[in-house]
């Protein structure tokens, strides 16, 4: 397969960037999208140019490092799939592919397609956990948790923190990411003690980081590689309302 790529190149955090075009020939359909970029990078290196920088690590859709907007869709055209799981058989010979970084004020570009997502860590630091010191945990069976709750909590906890929801949301809102963690912890018995402070502190930090608000478009759910549902945003709204008014 031969493809025409238009890739965002940017030297570093403070310099302006622009779209640059590259040809990718000898692309096989069995290649993953990142492997295709590896091949393009090898050609660039052999020509002495700087390779296209992008974040990646596990390449099996679980670490949340890879973060490319492909033809306007974060993580590309395949649903419930990260960039690194996308395979080139989804494209046709001669296609033009636009590759851009996540765009959000809270995710400044570091270089080319790499962005700084530490704002997510700061939100989690505000309360995305249960405060329990090592050693003072009761026996695991002290508090039975019904299977439906355990399964639901698991689905909310499956978020890999990739940020595609922010990249796809028209308001660059982080509500899906924040609500997944708030929902997981507030539905578990262990999470009850800090229910009020958790949602307020995390929402405050989310606002401080410069994320937008949620106007219920539902774009985030469409691109989330772990199928996190917008129903958790409704959960967060309820948690926040109860925390504010009770």
């Amino acid at each position: 397969m031969k493809l025409k790529l238009h890739v965002w190149r940017q030297k570093d955090r403070n310099s302006p960037g622009q779209m640059v075009s590259y040809d990718a020939d000898h692309v096989s359909p069995d290649m993953s999208f990142l492997e295709m970029l590896d091949v393009v990078n090898q050609d660039l290196i052999n020509k002495g140019d700087e390779p296209i920088h992008f974040d990646h690590d596990c390449r099996e859709g679980i670490c949340g490092m890879c973060s490319l907007v492909i033809n306007g869709t974060p993580h590309g055209p395949e649903r419930s799939t990260t960039t690194c799981q996308l395979h080139m058989r989804k494209f046709n010979d001669g296609d033009e592919i636009y590759i851009e970084p996540w765009r959000a004020k809270a995710f400044p570009v570091i270089k080319d397609l790499m962005v700084d997502r530490s704002s997510f860590d700061r939100i989690i630091q505000e309360g995305g956990y249960i405060s329990v010191n090592t050693g003072n945990a009761p026996d695991a069976h002290a508090i039975p948790i019904g299977k439906p709750i355990a399964d639901e909590a698991f689905e909310a906890a499956a978020c890999i923190g990739c940020g595609a929801c922010v990249a796809s949301c028209k308001n660059a809102s982080a509500m899906l990411f924040v609500s997944a963690k708030v929902a997981q912890l507030s539905m578990l018995p262990q999470g009850q003690a800090e229910r009020k402070s958790r949602v307020q502190n995390m929402v405050n930090q989310m606002d401080e980081e410069g994320f937008g608000s949620c106007t219920n478009h539902g774009e985030c759910e469409a691109v989330c590689p772990k199928d996190i549902k917008v129903k958790y945003i409704a959960e967060l709204n309820k948690e926040y309302r109860n925390a504010s008014f009770s």
Partner: protein
């Protein structure tokens, strides 16, 4: 190099409690005076950092990813073992200890393994208290499943993402301490050297991957939790960034490297589909519960699997191992697959694959039941290979997965360098020659939550080194050496890319140090690797500059260390004249191809001491005594 295991005396079941009583402690008020560097934010690094911070120590935690939540522990799928015996099927601390020592093919230290089994119960309690959403039965109690090599079902899991959920629990505890100001988190930093002051580990040199700045960090003790070295084979199930740099740098500063040749090959991975392949993907071992492994009986039979009649199918695992069948331990299953492919009965491109067929279980249980158990794994498989496992059998082939070897540590998890502690996959101690499924997560969290936070106090209480700052000369020297290495890599400006060298090294390692090793092959590797290393330092092309984000420079540093470490790996495999666990020497096997251990001469850990680039390292040993688990050959017939 002195190798004292410092294992306390007395009955195995009392050693840990006795040791905790006899240890010198740091009183709470003084803990604030001690600073600890933790390299790594995986299960081991994150849990250790959080727990030590909770106790009052000041912690500096480092990781190369952009967030501590992305350490490679995130990729673990299958589950985590613990001796809870919730299923009431006869499990106990002693049985978990026994299974792990026996599974490790009698090459681990009994005392460490017993302690691992002993604290395993606390791990599950801690993770449940953190809100880790383990799978539950309808009554609300924890669900278990069984894994290869164990007759009880002691594995706790969170569907196919157990590693992720355990890591997110530890990441939560770590984030809480970062917020409390007790942990200073350094993301996108790579440790490039260890700094010794008067022979004690007192700091590290780390490069800021964003600015390229090489920085000094001082502390009263250093903890390495930097994961495994599987990527020396280039193609493995590890993440792309996994490296041996942190451990190898400590090794070059004098830390003993134990059993590097013990690497685990996971039998059920997706085969290589072309030379563009950057990484291999693991399919969870739980698939082997319902899938039947087979190859065509005739070599070169390239008919579609559904066209090959039952009579011409060889279910070779069930044939060779009637009692365990498809659930034989990983090393046995991997070698059997290689054997079939070497004899030309391999399937798929390049003849490097065997079938894992679910036709019978779909007929027996119905597609819906199979979908419920393995739905996301089948979806992942289809996404990568475009084949639908419900209709056509999966193609699988073994791939490098876990490294039992690592830096040598004593009972306090301290290396032979005082002050340098090593935990998680980066140390050697608990899994001997072969790790049982779902026990690496247990070890990482055991070391981090319940062992290191106590034993590091022993070091602090018994060595008062006084304040060490980065002004010390040792830091200046180490920083200069690191800058020289970085500039050297940038200055070579050769013709070949870093990946091409890494791929070539991987090929040598896979062919000579993979599933089957021979003296002749290993000697060839001991010649080819230094030659490749020499060419690397003449012909590698590292583009870009050092003062900015530079992927190629990062990879070059890691491949340079792999090119040295690979040689020590091959040397260890050559000198260990026996077959045990993940190390199989063709010269030491029974006529039926079973591993033959040599317990008289090799019932020890081989610990290598670095002597300099291109110089042969010295081999020390620590004998492994087995008072509780009698030495016996493993049989899974």
């Amino acid at each position: 190099m002195k190798l004292e295991s410092k294992v306390p005396s007395g009955d195995i079941a009392q050693k840990w409690d006795k040791h905790r009583f006899e240890m010198k402690l740091v009183n709470p008020a003084n803990k604030r005076k001690f600073r600890v560097i933790v390299v790594g934010s995986g299960l081991a690094g994150a849990s250790a950092s959080a727990t030590m911070a909770e106790l009052g120590y000041d912690v500096d935690c480092f990781c190369y990813q952009d967030s501590p939540r992305r350490a490679h522990s995130i990729a673990a799928q299958g589950g985590i073992n613990a001796a809870k015996n919730y299923q009431n099927d006869g499990d106990s601390v002693y049985r978990l200890f026994y299974d792990t020592v026996k599974g490790g093919d009698f090459r681990s230290r009994e005392a460490n393994v017993y302690r691992l089994a002993q604290v395993s119960t606390n791990i599950i309690d801690q993770c449940v208290a953190q809100g880790v959403p383990f799978a539950r039965e309808y009554g609300g109690y924890l669900a278990n499943r069984s894994f290869g090599g164990a007759q009880v079902s002691r594995t706790f899991y969170a569907r196919g993402q157990t590693g992720q959920q355990l890591l997110l629990g530890a990441y939560g505890a770590l984030s809480r301490q970062i917020k409390a100001g007790k942990v200073n988190m350094h993301t996108r930093y790579e440790m490039l050297d260890l700094v010794l002051v008067d022979g004690h580990a007192k700091g590290i040199i780390a490069r800021n991957l964003l600015t390229g700045e090489v920085t000094r960090h001082a502390a009263d003790a250093v903890v390495l939790a930097s994961g495994g070295y599987g990527n020396v084979f280039y193609l493995s199930t590890n993440a792309m960034g996994c490296n041996v740099t942190a451990s190898y740098r400590a090794h070059k500063r004098g830390a003993g490297f134990a059993n590097p040749c013990y690497t685990q090959i996971h039998p059920t991975c997706i085969p290589v589909s072309g030379d563009h392949q950057s990484k291999l993907t693991l399919m969870s071992e739980s698939l082997r519960n319902d899938g039947r492994v087979w190859v065509p009986t005739k070599a070169g039979d390239d008919r579609l699997p559904r066209d090959i009649p039952e009579a011409e199918r060889d279910y070779y695992l069930e044939r060779r191992y009637p009692s365990f069948g498809n659930l034989v331990p990983r090393d046995v299953a991997s070698r059997a697959a290689k054997h079939e492919c070497d004899e030309g009965r391999g399937v798929g491109p390049g003849g490097r694959g065997v079938y894992l067929d679910f036709r019978d279980s779909i007929n027996r249980l119905g597609e819906q039941a199979v979908r419920e158990r393995y739905g996301n794994l089948f979806q992942m498989y289809e996404r990568i290979t475009d084949d639908n496992p419900y209709q056509t059998p999966m193609r699988i082939y073994p791939a490098v997965h876990y490294t039992m070897g690592g830096l040598w540590v004593d009972y306090n998890l301290m290396s032979n360098i005082p002050g340098l502690h090593v935990i998680g996959e980066a140390n050697f101690s608990d899994h001997g020659a072969n790790r049982l499924g779902a026990s690496a997560l247990m070890q990482g969290l055991a070391d981090g939550y319940f062992v290191l936070p106590y034993t590091i106090g022993q070091y602090f209480a018994s060595h008062d080194q006084g304040e060490v700052t980065t002004e010390h000369q040792a830091f200046a020297d180490a920083e200069n050496e690191t800058n020289e290495r970085v500039n050297k890599l940038l200055s070579i400006q050769g013709k070949r890319s870093v990946d091409s060298f890494h791929r070539e090294l991987g090929k040598i390692m896979w062919e000579q140090c993979g599933m089957e090793r021979t003296a002749e092959g290993l000697n060839k590797a001991l010649k080819d690797i230094p030659a490749l290393r020499a060419e690397f330092y003449e012909n590698v092309n590292v583009t870009g500059a050092g003062d900015n984000v530079n992927m190629e420079l990062e990879k070059a540093g890691r491949v340079a260390d792999f090119l040295e470490f690979g040689e020590t790996f091959a040397r260890d495999a050559l000198t260990r004249e026996e077959s045990c666990g993940g190390h199989f020497r063709a010269e030491h096997q029974t006529p039926e191809g079973e591993a033959v251990r040599n317990d008289e001469d090799f019932c020890h850990a081989a610990v290598w001491e670095y002597q300099g680039m291109n110089k042969e390292p010295i081999r020390h040993t620590e004998n492994m005594e087995f008072e509780n688990v009698k030495l016996a050959t493993r049989s899974y017939k």
